[in-house]
């Protein structure tokens, strides 16, 4: 496999009993881009992210991250992960949560923690216990935990659920800045205008990658005006094979 990709997967399969969550999937992601995973519920987005990070062993197939075969423990300090669930310690403060993950990743300085908390606009609530925060603020804290150690590859599983439009725009502006610094982002989403902001998109349907390209390419190929229509067209097409 080539080293020019930040991330590369070949023939990935993940089965849970009778369910095939990821079905013979090939994927390449260039460094410094935002790659969007688009797909309905249960299409395998979360499972694919787990496979790519190497925290779930695939049934078949293999992948590399930053040129190294997955799983690789050493690599993990360079990965950031924001799971779909909040994954926060509710009885700790925002700052304590962020500090914990920074220490775990071996990249702790008080300044870096402060910066990550500031980035998600939570500085005023840094000392608040997580359980006392609103749902959107908790999401922000969760993102700060994924960013604090300045990872090279960032996996975000529906990061903007429950976040107000204002901050959502800020998040995406920040993702763009991270891209410019060379950070690769893999993000799953249901929100179509977020999809428009991804460098490239992969449409997932029943564990398979049914279409791939830039938002513009996908729209043109489907002869659709919006991303939503394009997505529906592609999934109809794969439901009824020619």
């Amino acid at each position: 496999m080539s080293n020019t990709y930040a991330l590369q997967a070949r023939g990935l399969v993940k089965r849970f009993g009778a369910i095939t969550a990821v079905d013979n999937l090939d994927l390449q992601v260039e460094p410094g881009v935002t790659y969007g995973l688009l797909g309905p519920n249960a299409s395998g987005k979360t499972t694919l992210i787990r496979l790519l990070m190497g925290i779930l062993p695939p049934t078949r197939g293999q992948s590399t991250l930053l040129g190294r075969p997955v799983p690789d423990r050493v690599l993990r300090t360079r990965l950031g992960y924001m799971p779909q669930a909040l994954a926060l310690y509710e009885d700790l403060s925002v700052q304590e949560n962020v500090s914990f993950y920074a220490r775990l990743m071996g990249n702790y300085t008080p300044a870096r923690v402060e910066e990550a908390v500031g980035l998600v606009d939570l500085s005023a609530r840094a000392k608040s216990i997580v359980s006392t925060l609103s749902g959107g603020f908790k999401r922000r804290a969760s993102l700060a935990c994924a960013l604090v150690h300045q990872p090279a590859v960032l996996f975000l599983d529906e990061p903007t659920v429950g976040i107000d439009p204002h901050l959502r725009v800020e998040f995406w502006n920040h993702f763009q800045r991270l891209n410019q610094q060379g950070v690769t982002i893999v993000v799953s989403t249901h929100i179509m205008d977020e999809a428009e902001r991804c460098t490239r998109l992969g449409l997932l349907y029943q564990g398979r990658l049914i279409a791939e390209g830039t938002a513009k390419e996908l729209r043109e190929r489907a002869k659709a005006d919006t991303m939503e229509q394009a997505f529906l067209a592609f999934s109809d097409e794969s439901k009824a094979p020619p």
Partner: protein
């Protein structure tokens, strides 16, 4: 093995725990309450029992016996007649009736005669043994008096402990170990369960943290509190309750630390079988209570059926009990072979739990 990661985990657990004032109070206050209660109950003096005495014999021996029975501090005696015995026990408030039958005096003269008769209320567990004990004491007094001697007072020399030791002094050391074991198990099991259900375990999995580091971090984080708990309970039992002990209290700490090592890993292991916090609590009657019964605290292990003896020797609390007795009752040190063997057994248990915990973690992950 990465020390900063382990200490990050330990620090986090300690911070979470420190903030949980109610649990903190519980792990300190509950053992104090239980031990105080135990101290009080164990030293309880039994209340006097109502005993009827029927004297049908006029011989001096029979009269003497009746006199001695009346003089027993435990007995509140009243004179009764044979035909009312059952009524008096059923409704008359008597716990027992002792009948000295006609012709009893002949026995002491070396001839054949009727024996004493005792009727007891069988509904109370203490009655029969207490009445028979009292009766034995009274007859011994009568017999001794006849040959003109007082009751024998053997001179007792103690090799370990001493006459001032009460039952509590034998129980308390093991209870200290028991409380650490219970709380460390419970806190780890619930802490780990939360880690799974709130999704943070997934984040830990995505970090460079290894299973061994995770187990160690948990152990250090909770052991700090287990040791603090042991210290407070120990000081409380020694200085407030005033139990007697020998030996070095630092060795007691070592035993508690090694025991909590096993408890942390048992907590992680068992938590992978529990889906809710309630289920983790439900393991207590299954896993903890039988250990307390079999550990040799209340009933001696050599008296048990070989199967239970074998089982007892698989349980960590048994070795903690042995070690605590060796150190706090017999005053032995770390150089003693049996203390070393007990601590070794506890380490072995901890190692087995580490293996089970990491196996279970792998199972829980995929």
């Amino acid at each position: 093995m990465n020390l900063p990661r382990i200490s990050a985990l330990a620090l986090r657990i300690a911070t979470q725990f420190r903030r949980d004032h109610r649990t903190l109070a519980m792990i300190i206050v509950a053992p104090m309450v239980i031990l105080s209660l135990l101290a009080y109950l164990i030293n309880l003096t039994p209340s006097s029992m109502q005993v009827g005495v029927v004297v049908e014999d006029a011989s001096p021996v029979a009269q003497r016996l009746a006199q001695e029975l009346r003089a027993l501090p435990l007995f509140q005696t009243q004179t009764a007649s044979r035909d009312r015995v059952e009524d008096l026990i059923r409704g008359g408030g008597l716990e027992a009736v002792i009948i000295i039958p006609q012709g009893y005096g002949l026995r002491s003269a070396g001839q054949s005669g009727p024996d004493l008769e005792v009727v007891v209320d069988g509904s109370r567990s203490r009655t029969a043994p207490a009445v028979l004990q009292g009766l034995a004491r009274a007859t011994a007094r009568v017999a001794a008096n006849q040959v003109g001697a007082s009751l024998p007072q053997p001179q007792v020399t103690y090799v370990h402990a001493g006459p001032e030791y009460t039952t509590l002094d034998y129980f308390a050391p093991t209870f200290i170990a028991f409380f650490s074991f219970l709380f460390v198990y419970l806190l780890t099991a619930i802490g780990f369960l939360r880690e799974r259900s709130q999704g943070t375990l997934e984040r830990l999995t995505a970090s460079p943290l290894t299973k061994a580091e995770m187990v160690l971090g948990y152990m250090v984080g909770f052991s700090i509190f287990a040791l603090a708990q042991a210290a407070v309970i120990l000081l409380f039992t020694v200085y407030v309750i005033g139990i007697h002990y020998q030996g070095n209290l630092l060795i007691v700490f070592l035993i508690v630390a090694v025991l909590s090592l096993g408890a942390v890993n048992m907590g992680i292991f068992l938590s992978t079988f529990a889906a809710t916090e309630l289920q983790a609590v439900q393991f207590i009657p299954m896993v903890i209570t039988p250990q307390t019964l079999l550990a040799g605290i209340f009933w001696p292990i050599p008296d048990m059926h070989p199967i239970f003896q074998w089982l007892a020797h698989l349980l960590p609390l048994t070795y903690a009990n042995f070690a605590m007795q060796e150190v706090m009752v017999k005053g032995k040190g770390l150089l003693d072979a049996s203390v070393q063997a007990d601590i070794g057994a506890l380490l072995l248990f901890a190692a087995a739990q580490v293996a089970l915990a990491s196996f279970a973690m792998r199972r829980a992950r995929t």
